[in-house]
Subunit: 339 residues, 2 copies
């Protein structure tokens, strides 16, 4: 027998105990034989997923001195918010696949998909409020209500901005505008999850600001890397057609980088392609060509990794705990989504 | 000169000082030169309307000993919730007119209509939370958060039930099922507005239950009468095409009454018409004929008035105040919507 070296845990392995516990909680709260609303909510909530946002809330709470048991309902709340936004997003984008299965509207129809998304948004606030009965002071629960309401509103604002940037095309969408949009559309809820966790746990102001800034940086890293994924992997990895952004002619991060760094001919080609008219496959292929030729894939990865590193640096303000390791693992995971 | 008799105020006149003050508040909170999200929210929120739900919240608070100034943000919150549900409803139903103007999706497109509805739902909870800074105890604010979250969830559940009842047709939808659906779809928010007002004002448990029950009864009266309106008036009165329910083949209150009280031939005709296939005009005309022939218009009005009377009776538990008069006026208004 040879001595086995202990393999270092991957980020996903570091997260999985917390994620598994939260998934069991999600599952137990909605009986499989419930009414139609519960059936659809189960379908949407229990699709395969990493539960990144609830894991973040729990880890942020624990890393700032709180107890997991007191914040579990709030952790579920951020997943409700996230899933509600996915359900509505898929209606808006006409995406029929999500997480490797039919999207909610593809399975249950658009009217019920809109209604179930709304119902989940309300459940966000019922769930957060439950923390008061678990011993979290009322003022802290109210603060968390405010943080999640603001995060949700920012998420919607980010979606509206994305539509405007898409209409403007690559010439009209600078990288600053992209960062602002991503900071709202994706960053807001990751920030909000971290901040709500710290507020519910009674973290110090410094700790609260540190995890909030951490959430902001992983939000950017996450969106940048998400934009890259279609060009790095096939669609079996994300469970979502990789061409949705291309079909919707969105100015994604690598496209914008290619536009900034490319030649005049590259820019003209990107503008032409993003005016529409080509098939999804031809659009995607053309974008991939320019992105590759300009080295934007590597550039985009570097920038995403830079944001993840910024996020990790914010964790220096926290005492060393297992929960802080979980936060660090989330930062790593944002730029290596397939592990 | 002759002495003028003082004409008694109509219900709408009794409400209007409160409604006008709330409309000014709604208006002042969103600058006319705001970003696209604020522009669309203004468009949706400032369309002509009676602001019944925020008026109810303010009146319920004042009628149970509270001060208006402390609950205005919560009053706006219930209007956000209501308008968000209207915006999403219009998307679902494909209704292009609302309150006498283009519906939000008709004017701004479906994606932005879904996003703005979501944004307003989040603003519900930001707004309610503001009451804490106005001196309402945190526990009462949290209770109001919970009440509005529950009301919103019930509203969504009512929409899903309505879809199931529509699919079931008049044979599969009894009057009890109708009442339950209406109690959720319409009653929940009227109940929630009244209850939140009483909780925020620190009303006694008896007062809080009285205004909650009041809200439930006016909810039923309101939905019953709303179902009648297309058969009583032309579409200029409600600002909404009167045939939407008929187009969507919904088993509305007068239709269900006609089905219960009609002959076997009437029932067969209703079943046939509600299986679809006729033009909207022909559907509407056929429903109107059976409803009229069976005397269901009068029956439906009687039942709606009965609910309004039940609602008024609940107000006996409150001390006599001007605010209680406003609540009574709302009860009256539910069954005479055009005044």
């Amino acid at each position: 027998m040879t001595a086995k070296a202990v393999a270092p845990r991957t980020p996903a392995q570091t997260l999985s105990p917390t994620a598994d516990a939260l998934r069991r909680e999600l599952d137990s709260r909605r009986p499989a034989d419930g009414d139609r609303m519960q059936e659809i909510a189960r379908y949407a909530l229990l699709a395969p997923g990493k539960l990144l946002r609830p894991v973040l809330l729990v880890a942020a709470a624990e890393a700032t001195g709180g107890s997991r048991d007191q914040v579990v309902p709030a952790a579920l709340a951020v997943e409700y918010l996230h899933v509600a936004s996915l359900v509505h997003d898929d209606v808006i984008d006409g995406d029929d696949l999500r997480r490797g299965q039919d999207s909610v509207h593809a399975r249950y129809g658009v009217p019920d998909a809109i209604a179930i998304g709304d119902a989940l948004l309300f459940q966000v606030f019922s769930a957060v409020s439950e923390c008061a009965a678990l011993g979290v002071p009322d003022a802290a629960v109210l603060a968390a209500v405010g943080v999640l309401a603001q995060a949700g509103e920012e998420l919607c604002r980010g979606q509206l901005q994305e539509a405007l940037l898409t209409a403007a095309g690559p010439r009209g969408c600078g990288l600053d505008a992209y960062r602002e949009m991503a900071s709202l559309k994706t960053g807001a809820l990751l920030r909000g999850a971290c901040r709500a966790g710290a507020l519910l746990s009674g973290g110090t102001p410094e700790e609260t600001e540190a995890v909030t800034a951490f959430g902001g940086h992983i939000g950017l890293a996450f969106q940048m890397y998400d934009d890259l994924l279609p060009y790095l992997a096939d669609e079996t990895v994300t469970g979502k057609p990789g061409m949705s952004d291309a079909v919707n002619l969105r100015p994604t991060f690598p496209v914008l980088l290619a536009y900034r760094t490319g030649t005049a001919a590259d820019r003209r080609r990107l503008e032409r392609v993003l005016r529409g008219g080509l098939s999804p496959e031809a659009t995607f292929a053309a974008l991939r060509e320019v992105i590759t030729a300009t080295g934007s894939l590597e550039l985009a990865q570097d920038q995403a990794r830079g944001e993840a590193a910024e996020a990790r640096a914010r964790l220096d303000a926290l005492p060393p705990t297992e929960a802080a390791d979980v936060l660090a693992a989330v930062a790593d995971l944002t730029v290596r989504r397939d592990r």
